[in-house]
Amino acid sequence: MEYSLIDLKPGESGCIKGIDGSSQSKKRLMAMGIIQGKEITVETAAPMGDPRIYTVLGYRLSMRNVEAKNIRIVRN
């Protein structure tokens, strides 16, 4: 079943299935390594739960939840 990246809790990981949203934001996310078929893990959240830190391709990156909502994943 497909979820959005914000459905994952810190420590959980999933496999990226696709990105929605404007073509601009898609391009930016892809340049940062958010790409179909890659594994992504939620590391930790900022004090108010937004933004959060993820690891993908072996490095850390932070995203606001509005951006994470556009990333479709399958739970591992």
């Binding site: 892809m30 900022a46 391709l57």
Partner: protein, 709 residues
């Protein structure tokens, strides 16, 4: 290739160690850091290696070569400008797969390429083994392992640059081959492109253009706008591809690129899987620094330490500089004959430049902390922690540091916005940071609060601080809504691993800022001081109400008494006041004064406001002259307070405080905005925006307040 010089461009991701590498190679004094300005000249360094002149150009750190951000456009334009002989693509050895995404796009541009696997030591300590031979053959260019922090492998790299140049070996063009559908579309478009640009493009260039068109690159589409049928064809191909693959065309290309990088990494990298690599000490430090409850208090403590050190540690060397300036002033004063040149040098240049140079220790200390924050990787964490709160006002998390710094001085605050990569967020932060109550404005508030609100003086000053924050945040919201609107508010940000900063990196970072500050002092401040001095000093023939000089010398010739001295002092002050009133500055103030009548400000207040443009501290000095207090009066002077307190009502005084808080940034800040924002238009915009806001709010306060008081 001009005169046998090899121009080498450094291209790579942010945080890949490019700048450290550059500094190592050139042992230069220049730092680039993240320097994402469009109009700012690129950092270049020339040196000789094996008798060959090499010019290194540092391009901004980027993740892709689309035309999305100013940095990406700048890099692309520079590569296309024909000035580049060789490109060195710096790869982060620990982050190879993502680094290679940019590489896949560089390869297509068809320039001679060399590859650097930087941070090879970090990779080894993570037990990553990279087959450089294999990587070299897959990328079609030599690969060199380097360690930027120690300089290992740099000689081999430079030898490689010279070798590549001497051999004039055109690289066998390596192509990324896309899947069948994409490839055919690329070929079809490429054919038409070649027809439209006969003989002007080689194979690489036409292929690159075709790919960019199919990727929907705005810049390239615009550039080819005249070829209607080309655009039509591209449009159709994009539509067909998207339909048959169920995904947008741009993404198909990006995925194909990642397919290539993934293939390369699988082939050449051996070591623990991605998941294991990340469990290092960065993770453990993040558990502390990004802690749910302690993360923000810890950040506040660090900011407090930075702020305190900047302004209290700075006191001591500031005293020395002040004394030094005083000594120079006296020395020069003694050498130069009395007259206009003497006055210009002593009262104009030395006083003006000296008054600014005194902030040098603050700048040095502040940027020491800034360098530490950004070199260690903490800056990105700080931005992460406060992003949610800042986002409420349409600001980026990284705006926090500049705004806090603004309480000290707006000049370094504007400079500190450099860490914000997003152009729009950065411009908003630059425009609102002058609203932060800087230490130069504090004397004005101490004077006014003391004179008019003696009981609640402390509360009034605190209120000013609160107002400055409220107005800055409100201004951010206004700017977001009205002027710099953009629907997209991205916060995708890399959090680099924690690193111990090298002394060299910190020194270079600081040195660069100090040089920038000194250049500003030598330029704008110098000119500004001369202009203000001129306006105060001229015209020279005054029509005075009485013969002050005669009266003073008559009294001075009499035996000295306490009473006589007082009369002499009073006469001198009265003369100064009349002279000021008739000077160009006084005349201008009288001309402008009607504008401030609705705010109930007099022409004297107008003089203070005008001189405050140079530096806000000058407002107090101007009042001292205007209200007959001689030159020595400071914000704590009892008599000045008394004189002032009779000149306006408390509500007007409050209005003046509000106006002084908000109106135009000082000359130094204006100059910095012009330099940092990359255009005087922005400086003008900043002045106009703050003037409007200051006038509007002051008008509101004085009119509404007038109804109640």
């Amino acid at each position: 290739m001009q005169g046998g010089k090899i121009t080498v461009a450094l291209v790579g991701n942010p945080n890949c160690g490019k700048t450290t590498l550059l500094n190592r190679i050139t042992r230069s004094k220049e730092s680039v850091g993240n320097y994402p300005r469009v109009t700012v000249a690129l950092k270049r360094k020339e040196f000789t290696h094996q008798g060959q002149v090499i010019e290194l150009v540092d391009l901004p750190g980027i993740y892709a070569l689309t035309s999305q951000t100013p940095e990406e456009r700048e890099t692309r334009d520079f590569i296309h400008s024909g000035q580049v002989d060789i490109i060195i693509n710096v790869l982060d050895a620990c982050n190879l797969e993502r680094s290679l995404f940019l590489t896949s796009q560089l390869i297509e541009m068809g320039h001679p390429l060399l590859f650097v696997l930087n941070m090879a030591d970090e990779a080894r300590s993570k037990k990553l083994q990279i087959d450089t031979q294999g990587l070299s053959s897959m990328l079609g260019g030599s690969v060199f392992e380097t360690v930027g922090t120690t300089g290992d492998g740099l000689k081999a790299l430079l030898d490689g640059v010279v070798r590549l140049h001497v051999q004039k070996m055109r690289r066998e063009p390596i192509f990324l081959t896309y899947d069948n559908h994409l490839e055919q579309a690329v070929r079809r478009v490429q054919r038409l492109v070649t027809e439209l640009h006969p003989r002007s493009l080689d194979h690489n260039q036409s292929r690159w253009l075709a790919i960019k068109l199919l990727e929907g690159d705005d810049r390239i589409l615009l550039q080819e706008g005249e070829h209607g049928h080309l655009l039509e064809m591209v449009h159709r191909e994009r539509y067909d591809l998207a339909r048959s693959h169920g995904e947008e065309c741009d993404l198909l290309f990006a995925m194909a690129r990642y397919g290539f990088t993934h293939g390369v990494v699988k082939e050449v990298v051996q070591g623990p899987s991605e998941g294991e690599v990340i469990r290092d000490w960065t993770g453990r430090l993040d558990q502390v620094f990004l802690h749910r409850f302690f993360g923000i208090p810890l950040l506040l403590v660090l900011l407090w330490i930075m702020f305190q050190s900047t302004f209290s540690l700075g006191q001591v060397p500031m005293g020395w500089i002040d004394a030094g300036v005083g000594w120079i002033s006296e020395w020069v004063s003694g050498r130069l004959p009395e007259g206009m040149v003497h006055d210009l040098v002593v009262d104009g240049i030395i006083a003006g430049v000296g008054g600014t140079i005194v902030f040098l220790p603050n700048i040095v200390i502040l940027f020491f902390f800034m360098a530490m924050f950004s070199e260690t990787g903490y800056l990105a964490r700080a931005a992460f922690l406060v992003d949610r709160s800042m986002h409420t006002f349409g600001l980026h998390g990284k705006a926090l540091i500049p705004l806090v710094m603004g309480f000290g001085c707006n000049v370094p605050a504007v400079m500190a916005t450099r860490t914000i990569e997003d152009y729009r967020s950065r411009m908003i932060t630059i425009l609102i940071s002058p609203f932060m109550l800087c230490s130069a404005r504090l004397p004005v508030f101490i004077l006014f609060a003391g004179a008019f609100f003696s009981e609640e003086a402390g509360t009034m000053v605190l209120l000013m601080y609160v107002l400055s924050i409220v107005v800055a945040m409100g201004a951010a919201v206004i700017l977001n809504r009205l002027f710099l609107r953009s629907d997209d508010d991205a916060f995708v940000m890399e959090l680099p691993p924690y690193r111990l900063p090298t002394l060299q990196a910190v020194m270079i970072h600081m040195g660069d800022r100090v040089i920038g500050f000194l250049q500003k002092v030598a330029g704008v401040i110098l000119v500004g001081s001369i202009i203000i001095w001129f306006l105060q000093e001229f015209p020279h023939h005054h029509i005075l109400s009485q013969d002050y000089d005669g009266e003073i010398s008559r009294l001075e010739s009499l035996p000295q008494t306490l009473q006589n001295d007082e009369i002499i002092a009073a006469l001198k002050v009265k003369k100064a006041q009349e002279v000021l009133e008739q000077s160009y500055l006084g005349q201008i103030a009288r001309t402008v004064a009607p504008v401030f009548v609705p705010l109930h400000f007099t022409w004297k207040d107008t003089v203070a406001i005008l001189t405050g443009f140079v530096a806000k501290e000058v407002v107090v000095a101007s009042y001292a002259v205007l209200y007959s207090q001689g030159d020595g009066a400071r914000e704590n002077s009892e008599s000045l307070r008394k004189a002032l307190s009779h000149s306006m009502t408390p509500i007007v005084a409050f209005t003046f405080m509000l106006f002084a808080l908000l109106y135009a940034p000082c000359l130094g800040t204006i100059a910095t905005i012009g330099k940092e924002a990359g255009g005087w238009v922005w400086a003008g915009y900043s002045v106009a925006f703050s003037m409007t806001l200051a006038y509007g709010l002051s008008f509101l306060v004085v009119q509404v307040g007038g109804l109640f008081v």
